[in-house]
Amino acid sequence: MLDEYFKQYGIIAIFAAIAVALPTALMLISWMLSMVKIRPNNPSEIKSSIYECGFETITERWNQFNFRYYSIALLFVLFDVEVVFLFPWAVSFGMMSVEFGAFVMIEMLIFVGILALGWIYAWKKGSLEWS
């Protein structure tokens, strides 16, 4: 018999495999329907060009994007890592407070406080504005 712990992940792996197989099967069915001429498949040059408001495509397709997305992504990485540290702290908060008292609370306040300083700096610098 497999270990009970890994068995649970095994079920999730099976589920994931079927969850990927279902949309793939739907696409295959659609493709097979086009093979037996039930669904139309007549691509033409105009039809398979890129949509652009009704006239021919004029711009570079992978066009430039705003630098702001980078700064948002950087901020996200920072605070997401912070949240990752918050999770185990929150789960064991009651247990650890019994042992260490108010230190558990103050420690996390300092940690969040340092990051909050960075957050205020980013706000003041205008990284959170969008206009």
Binding site: M1, L2, Q8, Y9, G10, I11, I12, I14, F15, A16, I18, A19, L22, P23, L26, M27, S30, W31, L33, I38, R39, P40, N41, N42, E45, K47, S48, I50, Y51, E52, C53, T59, R61, W62, N63, F65, Y69, I72, F76, F79, D80, V83, L86, F87, A90, V91, F93, G94, M95, S97, V98, V104, M105, M108, A116, W123, L128, E129, W130, S131
Partner: protein
């Protein structure tokens, strides 16, 4: 009777059934893992198909309800009450031509719908519909959900990037920025739950809710719900596919079955989200005895789905700067303040020896948190609502005949 029916659709009963079948076929040496695979596979297949069917009926429900909100009738021609409408839609979408732009990045373009649907489906594996999970009982259930929802932003970006369309890429850029921004407040809302539950397992979180967590921490519920609504990227937050600005956003180039899969994922999101909200804040399968736990779970899910629909049909679309500002400036503050408020309450009220909370402690916390929530929301509404905008009076165009008659 209910319990016997539920035990029928259970991993262990499936496992036993397949084990007997494989043993009778003379495969007793490998019957253990073969029946494990077969039971997991058939149960997963059942769950996925149920979810897809539920989504089909949900699209009908959503269209009918929104029609009522807008004083229309909605689809009512196919079948009784228009119940055949989702199936007609599916047949139409399968029969449609599936065009792929010649300049598109074909592998990415094809994988994107799968990458959007699979994570949405995977969330349902760890939801405890009754005392135990339907499929897998992970001891890190909620962490699994937080991890798996992050994949959605990649899938949406794949859809936009692969189709090589400027509207699609604008929509998916906005979408990726919005989804990652709202992941942080969502995780903060979950953290406030974890402070009381003391466990990452979904079943433990449900078991700890002597008082439902929506009562204990309304602010956590507000933060989580706002962030989850944004994660679904539906109407108040639908910058991803803002029809009036971006063509159709990230799914501009998608047609036929790929479009159907994208929208299956999109309409499945409210169902899955309401299941998560029910587990975290509404006490999961808890309820009175005259109905079984699963029925209570579905009932609560339905209420949450209706509230999400209500939000969708009431609010207009927000601008992208409003959305990002709301996530980074307001929800994050509220989330952190809420976490530390609850942490202080837990530290003060808990049993100094065992570190546990009684339901009386939870009620005291609820009283403090409700006062805090109402005061904060009133303060915020005054702060944001009474801002003076510099709006000049509209000047009528000389071309428009706007003056009243006789006044010249």
């Amino acid at each position: 009777m209910y319990t016997s029916f539920y035990q029928l659709i259970d991993f262990h009963s499936f496992y036993d059934m397949y084990y007997k079948i494989f043993e009778s076929l003379g495969l007793s040496s490998s019957a253990s893992w073969m029946s494990y695979l077969a039971a997991g596979g058939s149960l997963s297949f059942l769950a996925i198909n149920l979810l897809v069917l539920a989504t089909a009926f949900y699209t009908w429900f959503e269209r009918r309800t929104i029609a009522r909100f807008q004083v229309r009738r909605g689809p009512n021609r196919n079948g009784p009450f228009g119940l055949g409408q989702p199936f007609a839609d599916v047949i139409k979408l399968i029969m449609k031509e599936d065009t792929i732009p010649t300049e598109a990045d074909k592998p990415v373009f094809t994988i994107a719908p799968i990458a959007l649907l699979a994570p949405t489906l995977l969330i349902i594996t760890v939801i405890p519909i009754d005392d135990a999970s339907f499929l897998a009982t992970l001891n890190i259930g909620i962490l699994f959900i937080v991890g798996i929802t992050s994949v959605n932003s990649i899938a949406i970006f794949m859809a936009g990037w692969g189709s090589r369309n400027k509207y699609a890429i604008l929509g998916s850029m906005r979408g990726a920025a919005m989804l990652i921004s709202y992941e942080i407040p969502m995780a903060l809302g979950i953290t406030s739950v974890l402070l009381i539950s003391g466990s990452l397992a979904m079943t433990e979180i449900v078991a700890k809710q002597d008082i439902w967590f929506i009562v204990v921490m309304p602010m956590g519920f507000f933060v989580f719900m706002a962030a989850a609504t944004a994660e679904m990227s539906r109407t108040p937050f639908d910058q991803i596919e803002a029809e009036s600005e971006l063509g159709s956003g990230y799914n501009t180039e998608f047609s036929g079955i790929k479009f159907a899969i994208l929208f299956l994922a999109e309409f499945m999101a409210p169902i899955v989200t309401s299941a998560v909200v029910t587990t975290l804040f509404l006490g999961g399968s808890q309820g009175f005895d005259f109905l079984p736990g699963q029925a209570w779970f579905v009932l609560k899910m339905f209420v949450v789905i209706f509230i999400l629909l209500w939000i969708r049909s009431t609010w207009p679309r927000l601008r992208i700067d409003q959305i990002m500002g709301f996530a980074w400036k307001i929800l994050m503050e509220l989330g952190f303040v809420n976490i530390f408020l609850i942490a202080i309450e837990v530290a003060v009220l808990m049993d100094p020896v065992t570190g546990l909370l009684t339901s009386q402690d939870l009620l005291i916390m609820a009283a403090i948190n409700w006062v805090f929530t109402i005061l904060t929301l009133v303060f915020l509404a005054n702060l944001l609502g009474k801002r003076n905008y510099d709006r000049p009076d509209p000047v009528p165009s000389p071309l428009a005949n706007m003056q009243p008659k006789g006044e010249k």
